[in-house]
Amino acid sequence: MSRNSFLAVFNQKAALTIFLVGKLIRFFFFFAFIVFLLKGTKSLAGYNLNQTLLFFFTFNLIDTISQFLFREVYRFRPLIVSGGFDLVLSKPINALFRSLMGGADVIDLITIIPLTIATFYVASLLNPSILHTTFYILLVLNGLVIASAFHIFVLGLGIVTLEIDHTIMIYRDLTALGRFPIDIYKEPLRGIITFLIPIGVMVSFPAKAIMGLMSPIGVAWSLVFGGLILFLSLKFWKFALKKYTSASS
Protein backbone atom coordinates (compact mmCIF):
# COMPACT_ATOMS: atom_id res chain seq x y z
CA MET A 1 0.00 0.00 0.00
CA SER A 2 2.79 2.38 0.92
CA ARG A 3 4.68 1.47 -2.26
CA ASN A 4 1.60 2.39 -4.31
CA SER A 5 1.28 5.63 -2.38
CA PHE A 6 4.96 6.47 -3.01
CA LEU A 7 4.61 5.69 -6.74
CA ALA A 8 1.54 7.91 -6.97
CA VAL A 9 3.44 10.82 -5.43
CA PHE A 10 6.57 10.23 -7.55
CA ASN A 11 4.36 10.44 -10.64
CA GLN A 12 3.60 14.04 -9.73
CA LYS A 13 7.16 15.30 -9.47
CA ALA A 14 6.24 18.99 -9.64
CA ALA A 15 3.77 18.69 -6.73
CA LEU A 16 6.29 16.62 -4.76
CA THR A 17 8.96 19.28 -5.25
CA ILE A 18 6.65 22.18 -4.42
CA PHE A 19 5.40 20.53 -1.21
CA LEU A 20 8.87 19.51 -0.14
CA VAL A 21 10.20 23.02 -0.73
CA GLY A 22 7.17 24.48 1.09
CA LYS A 23 7.69 22.30 4.14
CA LEU A 24 11.41 23.08 4.24
CA ILE A 25 10.78 26.83 3.94
CA ARG A 26 8.19 26.73 6.75
CA PHE A 27 10.62 24.81 8.95
CA PHE A 28 13.43 27.23 8.15
CA PHE A 29 11.24 30.30 8.86
CA PHE A 30 10.24 28.99 12.29
CA PHE A 31 13.81 27.97 13.03
CA ALA A 32 15.05 31.45 12.10
CA PHE A 33 12.27 33.02 14.16
CA ILE A 34 13.30 31.10 17.29
CA VAL A 35 16.99 31.89 16.79
CA PHE A 36 16.40 35.64 16.27
CA LEU A 37 13.82 35.81 19.05
CA LEU A 38 16.08 34.13 21.58
CA LYS A 39 19.03 36.26 20.47
CA GLY A 40 16.98 39.27 21.52
CA THR A 41 15.32 37.86 24.65
CA LYS A 42 18.05 35.39 25.83
CA SER A 43 15.38 33.02 27.19
CA LEU A 44 11.79 31.87 26.65
CA ALA A 45 9.80 30.81 29.72
CA GLY A 46 13.16 30.12 31.40
CA TYR A 47 14.62 28.02 28.54
CA ASN A 48 17.73 29.06 26.61
CA LEU A 49 18.15 28.90 22.83
CA ASN A 50 19.30 25.27 22.59
CA GLN A 51 16.55 24.10 24.94
CA THR A 52 13.86 26.02 23.02
CA LEU A 53 15.22 24.59 19.77
CA LEU A 54 14.97 21.09 21.21
CA PHE A 55 11.27 21.64 21.97
CA PHE A 56 10.82 22.82 18.39
CA PHE A 57 12.78 19.93 16.83
CA THR A 58 11.01 17.33 19.00
CA PHE A 59 7.62 18.75 17.99
CA ASN A 60 8.64 18.55 14.32
CA LEU A 61 10.03 15.03 14.67
CA ILE A 62 6.82 13.63 16.21
CA ASP A 63 4.61 15.67 13.89
CA THR A 64 6.51 14.63 10.75
CA ILE A 65 6.66 10.92 11.65
CA SER A 66 2.94 10.85 12.46
CA GLN A 67 2.12 12.65 9.21
CA PHE A 68 4.30 10.17 7.32
CA LEU A 69 2.59 7.20 8.93
CA PHE A 70 -1.00 8.43 9.10
CA ARG A 71 -1.45 10.40 5.86
CA GLU A 72 -4.24 8.02 4.83
CA VAL A 73 -6.46 9.58 7.52
CA TYR A 74 -6.64 12.72 5.36
CA ARG A 75 -8.23 10.59 2.60
CA PHE A 76 -10.74 8.81 4.80
CA ARG A 77 -13.79 11.07 4.37
CA PRO A 78 -14.50 10.24 0.68
CA LEU A 79 -14.51 6.54 1.62
CA ILE A 80 -17.15 7.12 4.28
CA VAL A 81 -19.27 9.55 2.29
CA SER A 82 -19.30 7.37 -0.84
CA GLY A 83 -19.76 4.10 1.03
CA GLY A 84 -16.42 2.91 -0.38
CA PHE A 85 -15.46 1.94 3.15
CA ASP A 86 -17.55 -1.22 2.56
CA LEU A 87 -14.77 -2.48 0.29
CA VAL A 88 -12.19 -1.86 3.01
CA LEU A 89 -14.30 -3.77 5.54
CA SER A 90 -14.79 -6.70 3.22
CA LYS A 91 -11.08 -7.20 2.51
CA PRO A 92 -8.90 -9.57 4.54
CA ILE A 93 -6.97 -6.71 6.12
CA ASN A 94 -7.58 -4.90 9.37
CA ALA A 95 -9.83 -1.93 8.49
CA LEU A 96 -8.21 0.30 11.10
CA PHE A 97 -4.71 -0.47 9.83
CA ARG A 98 -5.82 0.19 6.25
CA SER A 99 -7.53 3.49 7.14
CA LEU A 100 -4.75 4.68 9.41
CA MET A 101 -1.55 3.57 7.68
CA GLY A 102 -2.67 2.63 4.17
CA GLY A 103 -0.85 5.48 2.38
CA ALA A 104 2.42 6.64 3.91
CA ASP A 105 3.61 10.05 2.71
CA VAL A 106 6.91 10.02 0.86
CA ILE A 107 7.38 13.80 1.26
CA ASP A 108 7.56 13.41 5.03
CA LEU A 109 9.77 10.33 4.70
CA ILE A 110 12.38 12.43 2.87
CA THR A 111 12.55 14.89 5.77
CA ILE A 112 12.50 12.38 8.65
CA ILE A 113 16.15 11.28 8.44
CA PRO A 114 17.76 14.77 8.40
CA LEU A 115 15.27 15.90 11.04
CA THR A 116 16.18 12.98 13.33
CA ILE A 117 19.89 13.70 12.94
CA ALA A 118 19.34 17.42 13.62
CA THR A 119 17.17 16.66 16.68
CA PHE A 120 19.81 14.38 18.18
CA TYR A 121 22.49 16.98 17.43
CA VAL A 122 20.53 19.72 19.24
CA ALA A 123 19.84 17.28 22.10
CA SER A 124 23.56 16.43 22.36
CA LEU A 125 24.34 20.13 22.90
CA LEU A 126 22.55 19.83 26.25
CA ASN A 127 24.95 17.06 27.38
CA PRO A 128 22.25 14.65 28.56
CA SER A 129 22.97 11.53 30.64
CA ILE A 130 22.24 8.05 29.25
CA LEU A 131 19.23 7.75 31.57
CA HIS A 132 17.75 11.05 30.36
CA THR A 133 18.40 10.10 26.73
CA THR A 134 16.57 6.81 27.33
CA PHE A 135 13.67 8.74 28.86
CA TYR A 136 13.67 11.00 25.80
CA ILE A 137 13.50 8.11 23.33
CA LEU A 138 10.78 6.39 25.38
CA LEU A 139 8.72 9.58 25.55
CA VAL A 140 9.13 10.30 21.83
CA LEU A 141 7.77 6.80 21.15
CA ASN A 142 5.01 7.54 23.66
CA GLY A 143 4.31 10.78 21.75
CA LEU A 144 3.85 8.70 18.60
CA VAL A 145 1.47 6.39 20.50
CA ILE A 146 -0.59 9.44 21.54
CA ALA A 147 -0.49 10.77 17.96
CA SER A 148 -1.80 7.36 16.78
CA ALA A 149 -4.61 7.60 19.35
CA PHE A 150 -5.51 11.11 18.13
CA HIS A 151 -5.70 9.89 14.54
CA ILE A 152 -7.84 6.89 15.55
CA PHE A 153 -10.21 9.27 17.36
CA VAL A 154 -10.39 11.40 14.20
CA LEU A 155 -11.21 8.33 12.09
CA GLY A 156 -13.91 7.28 14.57
CA LEU A 157 -15.37 10.77 14.57
CA GLY A 158 -15.31 10.65 10.78
CA ILE A 159 -17.54 7.59 10.78
CA VAL A 160 -19.94 9.03 13.35
CA THR A 161 -20.14 12.62 12.05
CA LEU A 162 -18.82 12.38 8.45
CA GLU A 163 -16.45 15.22 9.37
CA ILE A 164 -12.71 14.61 8.98
CA ASP A 165 -11.03 17.48 7.19
CA HIS A 166 -11.52 20.11 9.86
CA THR A 167 -11.10 17.76 12.81
CA ILE A 168 -7.69 16.74 11.52
CA MET A 169 -6.69 20.36 10.86
CA ILE A 170 -7.80 21.40 14.33
CA TYR A 171 -5.74 18.50 15.69
CA ARG A 172 -2.78 19.90 13.70
CA ASP A 173 -3.38 23.40 15.07
CA LEU A 174 -3.65 22.08 18.62
CA THR A 175 -0.43 20.10 18.35
CA ALA A 176 1.20 23.24 16.93
CA LEU A 177 0.73 24.72 20.41
CA GLY A 178 3.54 22.33 21.36
CA ARG A 179 5.95 23.96 18.91
CA PHE A 180 7.18 26.02 21.88
CA PRO A 181 7.57 24.89 25.54
CA ILE A 182 4.08 24.50 27.05
CA ASP A 183 5.35 26.54 30.00
CA ILE A 184 4.59 29.69 27.98
CA TYR A 185 0.85 29.06 28.40
CA LYS A 186 -1.05 30.20 31.45
CA GLU A 187 -3.49 28.11 33.47
CA PRO A 188 -6.08 26.76 32.74
CA LEU A 189 -4.87 26.45 29.12
CA ARG A 190 -1.63 24.81 30.22
CA GLY A 191 -3.54 22.17 32.20
CA ILE A 192 -5.93 21.55 29.32
CA ILE A 193 -3.18 20.99 26.76
CA THR A 194 -1.18 18.85 29.15
CA PHE A 195 -3.84 16.50 30.48
CA LEU A 196 -7.15 16.92 28.65
CA ILE A 197 -5.72 17.18 25.13
CA PRO A 198 -2.33 15.71 25.98
CA ILE A 199 -0.15 17.76 23.64
CA GLY A 200 2.22 18.46 26.51
CA VAL A 201 2.74 14.74 27.17
CA MET A 202 3.04 14.14 23.45
CA VAL A 203 5.62 16.75 22.37
CA SER A 204 6.86 18.73 25.38
CA PHE A 205 7.57 15.99 27.94
CA PRO A 206 10.27 14.25 25.85
CA ALA A 207 12.29 17.47 25.64
CA LYS A 208 11.78 18.12 29.36
CA ALA A 209 12.96 14.58 30.15
CA ILE A 210 16.27 14.99 28.31
CA MET A 211 16.86 18.22 30.23
CA GLY A 212 16.44 16.27 33.46
CA LEU A 213 13.21 18.09 34.31
CA MET A 214 11.12 14.91 34.65
CA SER A 215 11.24 12.34 37.43
CA PRO A 216 11.18 8.58 36.63
CA ILE A 217 7.67 8.50 38.11
CA GLY A 218 6.62 11.31 35.75
CA VAL A 219 8.02 9.35 32.81
CA ALA A 220 6.25 6.15 33.92
CA TRP A 221 3.00 8.05 34.42
CA SER A 222 3.31 9.51 30.90
CA LEU A 223 3.78 6.04 29.40
CA VAL A 224 0.72 4.72 31.25
CA PHE A 225 -1.22 7.78 30.11
CA GLY A 226 -0.19 7.14 26.48
CA GLY A 227 -1.29 3.50 26.74
CA LEU A 228 -4.61 4.54 28.27
CA ILE A 229 -5.32 7.07 25.50
CA LEU A 230 -4.54 4.44 22.85
CA PHE A 231 -6.85 1.95 24.61
CA LEU A 232 -9.67 4.52 24.72
CA SER A 233 -9.18 5.42 21.06
CA LEU A 234 -9.43 1.74 20.05
CA LYS A 235 -12.62 1.42 22.09
CA PHE A 236 -14.00 4.49 20.34
CA TRP A 237 -13.06 3.06 16.93
CA LYS A 238 -15.02 -0.12 17.71
CA PHE A 239 -17.97 1.97 18.89
CA ALA A 240 -17.80 4.07 15.68
CA LEU A 241 -17.66 0.98 13.46
CA LYS A 242 -20.99 -0.13 14.91
CA LYS A 243 -22.43 3.24 13.87
CA TYR A 244 -21.28 2.89 10.25
CA THR A 245 -24.37 2.83 8.05
CA SER A 246 -22.76 2.13 4.67
CA ALA A 247 -24.68 5.08 3.26
CA SER A 248 -24.41 5.80 -0.50
CA SER A 249 -23.01 2.36 -1.27
Partner: protein, 267 residues
Amino acid sequence: MKKYLQIFKLSFQQEFAYRLNFVMWRVRNILQIILTFFLWSSVFKNPETSVFGYNQEKILTYVFGILILRAIVFSARAVDVAGEISNGDITNFLLKPISYFKYWATRDTASKVLNLSFSVVEITILFVILRPHLFLQTNLLILFAVFVFLILAVILFFCLLFITNMSAFWMPENGWAAQFLFIAIITDFLSGGVFPLDILPYTFQKVLYSTPFPYLLFFPLQVYLGKIAGLEIIRGLVTSFAWVFILFMSVRFIWAKGLKRYSAEGR
Protein backbone atom coordinates in the same frame (compact mmCIF):
# COMPACT_ATOMS: atom_id res chain seq x y z
CA MET B 1 -23.30 47.16 -10.81
CA LYS B 2 -26.57 45.39 -10.02
CA LYS B 3 -25.23 42.00 -11.03
CA TYR B 4 -22.19 42.38 -8.76
CA LEU B 5 -24.45 43.32 -5.88
CA GLN B 6 -26.36 40.10 -6.56
CA ILE B 7 -23.07 38.15 -6.62
CA PHE B 8 -22.17 39.74 -3.28
CA LYS B 9 -25.49 38.61 -1.76
CA LEU B 10 -25.21 35.10 -3.19
CA SER B 11 -21.63 34.76 -2.07
CA PHE B 12 -22.56 35.85 1.42
CA GLN B 13 -25.34 33.25 1.53
CA GLN B 14 -23.01 30.61 0.15
CA GLU B 15 -20.56 31.18 3.00
CA PHE B 16 -23.41 30.51 5.42
CA ALA B 17 -24.44 27.38 3.51
CA TYR B 18 -21.25 25.72 4.76
CA ARG B 19 -21.53 26.94 8.34
CA LEU B 20 -19.43 24.22 9.93
CA ASN B 21 -16.73 24.85 7.36
CA PHE B 22 -16.69 28.54 8.21
CA VAL B 23 -16.83 28.07 11.99
CA MET B 24 -13.96 25.57 11.90
CA TRP B 25 -11.90 28.02 9.83
CA ARG B 26 -12.48 30.71 12.47
CA VAL B 27 -11.61 28.25 15.29
CA ARG B 28 -8.31 27.61 13.55
CA ASN B 29 -7.63 31.34 13.39
CA ILE B 30 -8.30 31.67 17.11
CA LEU B 31 -5.93 28.81 17.95
CA GLN B 32 -3.17 30.51 15.98
CA ILE B 33 -3.80 33.78 17.82
CA ILE B 34 -3.73 31.98 21.19
CA LEU B 35 -0.32 30.48 20.35
CA THR B 36 1.10 33.86 19.33
CA PHE B 37 -0.52 35.69 22.26
CA PHE B 38 0.94 33.38 24.91
CA LEU B 39 4.30 33.27 23.19
CA TRP B 40 4.66 37.05 23.33
CA SER B 41 3.06 37.30 26.77
CA SER B 42 5.77 34.97 27.98
CA VAL B 43 8.50 37.10 26.41
CA PHE B 44 7.00 40.30 27.84
CA LYS B 45 6.07 38.85 31.24
CA ASN B 46 7.61 41.89 32.84
CA PRO B 47 5.62 44.92 31.58
CA GLU B 48 8.84 46.99 31.64
CA THR B 49 10.53 44.69 29.09
CA SER B 50 11.31 46.24 25.72
CA VAL B 51 12.57 43.99 22.93
CA PHE B 52 12.87 44.68 19.17
CA GLY B 53 11.34 48.12 19.77
CA TYR B 54 8.15 46.67 21.28
CA ASN B 55 6.77 46.85 24.78
CA GLN B 56 4.08 44.52 26.10
CA GLU B 57 1.24 46.82 25.01
CA LYS B 58 2.50 47.18 21.44
CA ILE B 59 3.34 43.53 20.83
CA LEU B 60 -0.08 42.38 22.08
CA THR B 61 -1.71 45.02 19.88
CA TYR B 62 0.30 43.53 17.02
CA VAL B 63 -1.08 40.05 17.83
CA PHE B 64 -4.68 41.27 17.96
CA GLY B 65 -4.16 43.56 14.96
CA ILE B 66 -3.00 40.58 12.91
CA LEU B 67 -6.35 38.85 13.55
CA ILE B 68 -8.24 41.83 12.11
CA LEU B 69 -5.84 42.49 9.24
CA ARG B 70 -5.85 38.83 8.21
CA ALA B 71 -9.65 39.00 7.99
CA ILE B 72 -9.46 42.12 5.83
CA VAL B 73 -6.51 41.24 3.61
CA PHE B 74 -6.24 37.44 3.50
CA SER B 75 -9.94 36.44 3.44
CA ALA B 76 -10.60 35.58 -0.18
CA ARG B 77 -12.64 33.20 -2.28
CA ALA B 78 -10.33 33.64 -5.29
CA VAL B 79 -8.43 30.62 -3.96
CA ASP B 80 -10.90 28.60 -6.07
CA VAL B 81 -9.72 30.12 -9.38
CA ALA B 82 -7.05 27.41 -9.91
CA GLY B 83 -9.71 24.70 -9.53
CA GLU B 84 -11.98 26.42 -12.06
CA ILE B 85 -9.16 26.62 -14.57
CA SER B 86 -8.12 23.01 -14.14
CA ASN B 87 -11.63 21.51 -14.34
CA GLY B 88 -12.79 23.79 -17.13
CA ASP B 89 -15.50 25.62 -15.14
CA ILE B 90 -13.93 28.95 -16.10
CA THR B 91 -15.46 28.48 -19.56
CA ASN B 92 -18.89 29.33 -18.10
CA PHE B 93 -17.59 32.75 -17.05
CA LEU B 94 -15.82 33.45 -20.31
CA LEU B 95 -19.14 33.08 -22.12
CA LYS B 96 -21.09 35.34 -19.78
CA PRO B 97 -21.27 39.15 -19.92
CA ILE B 98 -19.38 39.48 -16.68
CA SER B 99 -15.84 40.48 -15.75
CA TYR B 100 -14.07 37.49 -14.22
CA PHE B 101 -11.88 39.76 -12.07
CA LYS B 102 -14.78 41.85 -10.80
CA TYR B 103 -16.69 38.64 -10.08
CA TRP B 104 -13.92 37.37 -7.79
CA ALA B 105 -13.27 40.80 -6.30
CA THR B 106 -16.96 40.90 -5.31
CA ARG B 107 -16.85 37.40 -3.84
CA ASP B 108 -13.67 38.33 -1.96
CA THR B 109 -15.41 41.40 -0.55
CA ALA B 110 -18.28 39.26 0.76
CA SER B 111 -15.79 36.92 2.37
CA LYS B 112 -13.91 39.83 3.93
CA VAL B 113 -17.07 41.39 5.37
CA LEU B 114 -18.10 38.08 6.91
CA ASN B 115 -14.66 37.25 8.28
CA LEU B 116 -14.18 40.76 9.61
CA SER B 117 -17.51 40.64 11.49
CA PHE B 118 -16.54 37.33 13.06
CA SER B 119 -13.04 38.49 13.93
CA VAL B 120 -14.48 41.51 15.75
CA VAL B 121 -16.64 39.17 17.85
CA GLU B 122 -13.66 36.87 18.49
CA ILE B 123 -11.45 39.77 19.51
CA THR B 124 -14.11 40.97 21.93
CA ILE B 125 -14.31 37.50 23.49
CA LEU B 126 -10.53 37.08 23.61
CA PHE B 127 -10.20 40.57 25.04
CA VAL B 128 -12.64 39.75 27.86
CA ILE B 129 -10.88 36.44 28.62
CA LEU B 130 -7.24 37.50 28.25
CA ARG B 131 -7.56 41.15 29.32
CA PRO B 132 -4.51 42.40 27.41
CA HIS B 133 -3.32 46.02 27.54
CA LEU B 134 -3.72 47.28 23.99
CA PHE B 135 -2.36 50.34 22.25
CA LEU B 136 -5.02 52.67 20.85
CA GLN B 137 -3.98 54.98 18.04
CA THR B 138 -5.83 58.29 18.26
CA ASN B 139 -4.08 60.35 15.57
CA LEU B 140 -6.62 60.67 12.76
CA LEU B 141 -3.96 61.30 10.13
CA ILE B 142 -2.19 58.05 11.03
CA LEU B 143 -5.51 56.19 11.04
CA PHE B 144 -6.21 57.54 7.56
CA ALA B 145 -2.75 56.38 6.41
CA VAL B 146 -3.49 52.90 7.82
CA PHE B 147 -6.78 52.89 5.90
CA VAL B 148 -4.99 53.74 2.63
CA PHE B 149 -2.36 51.05 3.26
CA LEU B 150 -5.13 48.51 3.89
CA ILE B 151 -6.83 49.27 0.58
CA LEU B 152 -3.50 48.84 -1.19
CA ALA B 153 -2.87 45.62 0.76
CA VAL B 154 -6.22 44.17 -0.36
CA ILE B 155 -5.40 44.94 -4.00
CA LEU B 156 -1.87 43.55 -3.65
CA PHE B 157 -3.11 40.30 -2.14
CA PHE B 158 -5.81 39.95 -4.79
CA CYS B 159 -3.16 40.27 -7.51
CA LEU B 160 -0.74 37.88 -5.79
CA LEU B 161 -3.50 35.31 -5.28
CA PHE B 162 -4.66 35.60 -8.88
CA ILE B 163 -1.15 35.26 -10.28
CA THR B 164 -0.57 32.15 -8.16
CA ASN B 165 -3.91 30.65 -9.19
CA MET B 166 -3.28 31.35 -12.86
CA SER B 167 -0.33 28.94 -12.69
CA ALA B 168 -3.08 26.33 -13.24
CA PHE B 169 -3.16 27.39 -16.92
CA TRP B 170 0.30 25.81 -17.28
CA MET B 171 0.16 23.12 -14.58
CA PRO B 172 -3.52 22.31 -14.04
CA GLU B 173 -2.88 19.64 -11.42
CA ASN B 174 -0.58 21.73 -9.27
CA GLY B 175 -2.43 25.01 -8.85
CA TRP B 176 -3.22 24.16 -5.23
CA ALA B 177 0.41 23.15 -4.59
CA ALA B 178 1.55 26.54 -5.87
CA GLN B 179 -0.96 28.16 -3.56
CA PHE B 180 0.38 26.18 -0.60
CA LEU B 181 3.91 27.36 -1.31
CA PHE B 182 3.38 31.00 -2.31
CA ILE B 183 0.31 31.99 -0.33
CA ALA B 184 0.08 29.73 2.72
CA ILE B 185 3.80 29.76 3.47
CA ILE B 186 5.85 32.47 1.75
CA THR B 187 3.24 35.25 1.79
CA ASP B 188 2.07 34.40 5.31
CA PHE B 189 5.57 34.53 6.79
CA LEU B 190 6.99 37.43 4.78
CA SER B 191 3.94 39.61 5.40
CA GLY B 192 4.49 39.43 9.16
CA GLY B 193 1.48 37.17 9.72
CA VAL B 194 3.43 34.71 11.87
CA PHE B 195 5.87 37.05 13.65
CA PRO B 196 6.84 40.73 13.42
CA LEU B 197 9.43 41.17 10.71
CA ASP B 198 11.55 43.57 12.74
CA ILE B 199 13.04 40.73 14.77
CA LEU B 200 14.91 39.73 11.60
CA PRO B 201 18.40 41.10 10.80
CA TYR B 202 18.37 44.66 9.47
CA THR B 203 19.81 43.76 6.03
CA PHE B 204 17.14 41.12 5.50
CA GLN B 205 14.43 43.62 6.50
CA LYS B 206 15.80 46.13 4.02
CA VAL B 207 15.61 43.60 1.19
CA LEU B 208 12.13 42.56 2.32
CA TYR B 209 10.87 46.16 2.17
CA SER B 210 11.51 46.21 -1.56
CA THR B 211 9.11 43.26 -2.04
CA PRO B 212 5.28 43.53 -1.84
CA PHE B 213 4.93 41.18 1.15
CA PRO B 214 5.49 43.47 4.17
CA TYR B 215 2.87 45.91 2.81
CA LEU B 216 0.14 43.29 3.27
CA LEU B 217 0.09 43.17 7.09
CA PHE B 218 3.31 44.29 8.71
CA PHE B 219 3.65 47.81 7.34
CA PRO B 220 0.03 48.93 8.00
CA LEU B 221 0.34 47.62 11.58
CA GLN B 222 3.67 49.41 12.10
CA VAL B 223 2.07 52.64 10.92
CA TYR B 224 -0.83 52.07 13.35
CA LEU B 225 1.59 51.42 16.22
CA GLY B 226 3.43 54.64 15.39
CA LYS B 227 6.68 52.75 14.75
CA ILE B 228 6.81 54.09 11.20
CA ALA B 229 6.16 57.77 10.61
CA GLY B 230 6.84 60.77 8.37
CA LEU B 231 8.98 60.20 5.32
CA GLU B 232 8.99 56.43 5.84
CA ILE B 233 5.20 56.37 5.41
CA ILE B 234 5.53 58.24 2.11
CA ARG B 235 8.26 55.84 0.99
CA GLY B 236 6.01 52.91 1.95
CA LEU B 237 3.10 54.39 0.01
CA VAL B 238 5.22 54.87 -3.11
CA THR B 239 6.54 51.29 -2.92
CA SER B 240 3.03 49.92 -2.32
CA PHE B 241 1.60 51.85 -5.27
CA ALA B 242 4.49 50.70 -7.46
CA TRP B 243 3.81 47.06 -6.55
CA VAL B 244 0.09 47.46 -7.16
CA PHE B 245 0.91 48.73 -10.65
CA ILE B 246 3.50 45.99 -11.36
CA LEU B 247 1.27 43.19 -10.10
CA PHE B 248 -1.83 44.53 -11.82
CA MET B 249 0.00 44.64 -15.15
CA SER B 250 1.39 41.15 -14.48
CA VAL B 251 -2.12 39.81 -13.81
CA ARG B 252 -3.34 41.21 -17.14
CA PHE B 253 -0.32 39.87 -19.00
CA ILE B 254 -0.48 36.37 -17.46
CA TRP B 255 -4.27 36.24 -17.93
CA ALA B 256 -3.90 37.01 -21.66
CA LYS B 257 -1.13 34.42 -22.05
CA GLY B 258 -3.06 31.88 -19.97
CA LEU B 259 -6.26 32.24 -21.98
CA LYS B 260 -4.33 31.55 -25.16
CA ARG B 261 -3.10 28.32 -23.62
CA TYR B 262 -6.44 27.35 -22.08
CA SER B 263 -8.11 24.45 -23.89
CA ALA B 264 -11.20 23.93 -21.68
CA GLU B 265 -10.14 20.53 -20.41
CA GLY B 266 -12.94 18.70 -18.67
CA ARG B 267 -15.63 20.46 -20.72
